[in-house]
């Protein structure tokens, strides 16, 4: 990324793996930040020609329009199954399943768990924004206790709908995943850590090591009813205490 010219160099330039266009995301949405991190990693590892993004159903449904490499849409929750097929048929490709919390931990829980359990050589990026963003802010499996959403107008009541599900901890009970880490984009330092985790997840795949799972605590300022910086602070103050950041497994 360090493009040199005569009298200056870029400290930060648009990654080649990112398409130069305005996304449909709301102002301040965490999806945009994670898209950039993924594109930077794909560039740095030199795998753009081999990369395939599997898009979920959710706000990031059009991610293949923003990534400057191949893409494939999966029906809601089925990204791990589609990614499995793509990877098994094209073992040299680098397959990334990018999924929201509704996609991965509600309708697609089965696919997510079994792809991880089979140890598929794919990389999953799990965007936990504690809500169904695309459909207008309904409760997700990861919605926080007492969090107000369109379907929990009095706040999530665990005695009614259960406690928020911790994806990393759940998958960490399985034998075959090689890398499980939870990170966040709520500030600069953690954003860099998120990039590092994504890089490790893709590297594992290049080396044929197996299944990597990176959970990113992200923001949905629109459906949370907050300004973007308030949303970032809410991740730090409300989500992180329940969803501890850090590495769960690095084999």
């Amino acid at each position: 990324m360090e493009t040199k010219t005569k009298d200056f160099k870029y400290v930060y330039d648009k990654p080649e793996a990112l398409v130069d266009k305005v996304t449909h995301y709301c102002p301040g949405c965490g999806h945009g930040i994670v898209h950039k991190l993924l594109a930077e990693v794909i560039d740095e590892l030199g795998v753009r020609e081999k990369a395939i993004i599997v898009a979920p159903v959710g706000c990031s449904v059009l991610i293949y329009d923003y990534m400057n490499f191949d893409g494939c849409e999966a029906s809601h929750g089925r990204a791990p199954a589609v990614a499995t097929g793509l990877k098994r048929v094209n073992p040299d490709s680098i397959v990334v399943a990018y999924q929201g919390d509704g996609d991965l931990l509600a309708i697609g829980t089965g696919e997510a768990i079994h792809a991880a359990n089979r140890g598929e050589n794919i990389t999953t990026i799990f965007i936990n924004n504690a809500i169904y963003g695309m459909t207008g802010g309904q409760m997700a499996p990861t919605t926080m206790e007492k969090q107000i959403t369109a379907t929990t107008p009095y706040g999530r009541d665990p005695m009614d709908v259960g406690f928020p599900i911790r994806g990393c901890e759940l998958l960490n009970t399985l034998e075959r995943p090689v890398f499980i880490e939870r990170c966040s984009i709520y500030d600069f330092k953690n954003t860099l850590k998120t990039k590092k985790a994504i890089k490790k997840g893709i590297k594992n795949q290049i080396e044929g090591r197996g299944y990597s799972f990176i959970e990113v605590l992200s923001t949905c300022p629109t459906n949370w009813g907050m300004k973007p910086q308030e949303a970032a602070n809410w991740v730090k103050d409300t989500m992180v205490p329940y969803y501890p950041l850090g590495n769960f497994r690095d084999n």
Binding site: Y10, Y12, D20, P27, G32, I33, K36, F188, T191, Q229
Partner: protein
């Protein structure tokens, strides 16, 4: 001047995340509006830019690039 952010103001959605992330507080929002109808990110003191790249990395919309001038 060590370097500076280069801001594609037309693309800015006005989220203000760069304002908070800048360690030397030189990012602010414009008084005027861009074609998207939002106040966009501006750098109010390029002299102070450390070229850390934080604003560019946090920007969800690829609005900001950061350049560093070569020595001499």
């Amino acid at each position: 001047m060590r370097g500076k952010p280069i801001i594609d103001t037309a693309k800015c959605k006005g989220c203000e995340l760069c304002n908070d992330v800048c360690p030397v507080n030189i990012m602010a929002m414009s008084d005027t509006f861009n074609k998207q109808g939002v106040q966009y990110a501006v750098c109010i003191d390029e002299e102070k830019c450390t070229t850390c790249g934080a604003c560019a990395i946090i920007c969800p919309d690829m609005v900001i690039k950061v350049i560093k001038y070569e020595q001499g």
